[in-house]
């Protein structure tokens, strides 16, 4: 396999966007092409989960490549639930690594706010098991809530730990101009004050409003290129050094230990093995905190902390900006937002920004190795990636 690098990046604000879905994909793509210094690529991959259902549009690859004026370049849409973004990056990687392409564009997009929040939640719930889960009215917050209750029982995670994840990621999002939520919050305000239960009502007990990511529109794009192409472009050498993907049972209740997220553990282990690195080598990580509990558990399953101790590391500030392993400096899904098809590409955008040293006030000093975890379903399809800055 050839080595593959990130040559360019681009992103929209994650918020409510009042322009067509194809433009939400094309705008960050233009920025990424400009960043790389390219006017053309060999292939276009569009990551998206919901266009057919939410936006009444199919064959999004064709629409995006034309919006970009890049026809007759090949283009396709990749749908893999909330892991669509990382799946598309993986496909782009394979195209370049195999030697078929020298440079490819991967752009992720979602426009979920075209429907109301309940419809968006129901749309996301369609990725659950149709007969054994979906018909019961299960939602992703419900899955996360049932998982959280077990984690609280077994490992002593409390509502306060969950609130600390939200507070940290909202604070990080304040430093990210592209983040959906620019809203500083405190544990006092969302948990302890007399108004807390009005400010922060239950979504699925024991999870509250501030335990769940917002519903966002947004797009993010990267250009992947071969080493030969990189030599022409003169951009910093950020190598996509490892990719791991793992699946788990579609019905969450079938897993032998219901507090394990084995697909996170396995995908991370594969990504580190491919990169020839270990969790201890990582300087900065973007984890898929669609729910606050997930940041804690993914930080354990990825190997950064022992199982059941992620909340203790959080408590000590280990995962804060300025801590030994900052997690979600972008604000994460919680603060930056979660336009599902764009999320995995957005994570790569943040890690590349960090490894280039371009993250401004939220820069992790000296970051040379970064990690992403894009979590599909309720942990039934997970892609982890390791990025390395080369000199």
């Amino acid at each position: 396999m050839r080595e593959v690098y990130v040559a360019g990046i681009g992103i929209t604000s994650f918020s409510r966007l009042e322009y067509p879905l194809a433009e939400i994909a094309a705008y960050p793509a233009m920025l990424a092409l400009r960043d790389a210094g390219l006017k053309a690529v060999d292939q276009v991959y569009v990551a998206n989960m919901g266009s057919a259902r939410i936006n009444n549009q199919t064959a999004l690859g064709s629409a995006v490549v034309d919006t970009l004026g890049l026809t007759p370049t090949g283009a396709e849409r990749i749908e893999n639930g909330p892991a669509s973004g990382a799946s598309a990056v993986k496909q782009g990687f394979l195209g370049v690594a195999a030697g078929m392409y020298e440079a490819v564009l991967v752009t992720g997009c979602e426009r979920m706010r075209e429907v109301n929040n309940l419809e968006a939640t129901d749309f996301v719930a369609t990725m659950t098991h149709p007969l054994a889960e979906y018909i019961y009215g299960v939602t992703l917050p419900a899955h996360a809530a049932m998982f959280t209750r077990l984690y609280m029982e077994r490992y002593g995670v409390t509502a306060r730990h969950l609130a600390m994840v939200a507070v940290k990621n909202h604070a990080n999002a304040m430093l990210n101009p592209f983040a959906h939520l620019h809203q500083p919050i405190t544990v006092e305000g969302i948990l302890d004050s007399p108004e807390a239960f009005t400010n922060n009502p239950y979504v699925a007990e024991p999870l509250r409003f501030f335990d769940c990511c917002p519903v966002s529109d947004g797009g993010a794009a990267v250009i992947l290129a071969s080493r030969e192409k990189m030599a022409e472009l003169g951009k910093p050498l950020i190598r996509l050094a490892g990719i791991g993907q793992a699946t788990d049972t579609l019905a969450v209740f079938e897993r032998p230990d219901p507090t394990d997220l084995l697909a996170v553990r396995r995908s991370a282990a594969s990504a580190f093995a491919m990169a020839g690195l270990t969790p201890g080598d990582v300087h900065v990580a973007e984890l898929h905190d669609a729910f606050t509990i997930l940041e804690i558990v993914e930080s354990e399953e990825a190997g950064f902390f022992p199982k059941g101790e992620g909340h203790l590391a959080l408590e000590k500030g280990a995962t804060a900006l300025g801590g030994p392993l900052p997690i979600n400096p972008s604000g994460g899904l919680k603060g930056k937002g979660h336009p599902v098809g764009a999320t995995g590409v957005g994570q790569v955008h943040e890690i590349v920004t960090q490894l280039r040293g371009d993250a401004g006030e939220r820069q992790v000093a000296g970051a040379k190795v970064g990690f992403t975890c894009n979590f599909g379903g309720f942990g039934n399809n997970v892609i982890s990636m390791v990025f390395v800055r080369e000199e």
Binding site: T121, G137, T139, A145, M146, P201, V203, A204, E205
Partner: protein, 115 residues
């Protein structure tokens, strides 16, 4: 006749599957015709639960109880809960009832109550 939800027993190794899958995870036997349907038991133990507050419009309740139950044969399933104050580990018993009303269909699933 009392409605049932079925698990599927592999004809080669006897492994029980719920929900249905086309290939046995235990022995790798192939094909949808290689399983026998077996009614799921209705008694079990509540493993975890939640009350969901933001429900799709077709649910005419303020909050919906959902839980995972370990059934008496060791299989687990998700069901709705008609239990005001559930406790982890409590004994429950299920009945097959309407769990979702769609425009042209009623979906049947397990609703658990305290045993």
């Amino acid at each position: 006749m009392e409605r049932q939800i079925h698990a599927y027993a592999c004809r080669r190794c006897g492994a029980l599957h719920y929900p249905f899958r086309m290939v046995c995870r235990e022995c790798g036997e192939n094909g949808p015709h290689e399983f026998d349907p077996v009614p799921l038991p209705k008694e079990g133990t509540l493993l975890t639960f939640t009350f969901v507050h933001n429900l799709p419009a077709e649910y005419e309740v303020a909050r919906l109880g959902l839980g995972v139950v370990e059934l008496s044969n060791g299989l687990r399933m998700l069901g709705q809960l008609d239990i005001a104050d559930p406790k982890l580990g409590m004994k429950v018993v299920g009945e097959v009832e309407v769990v979702r009303r769609e425009a042209y269909a009623r979906r049947y699933g397990m609703v658990f109550r305290a045993a």
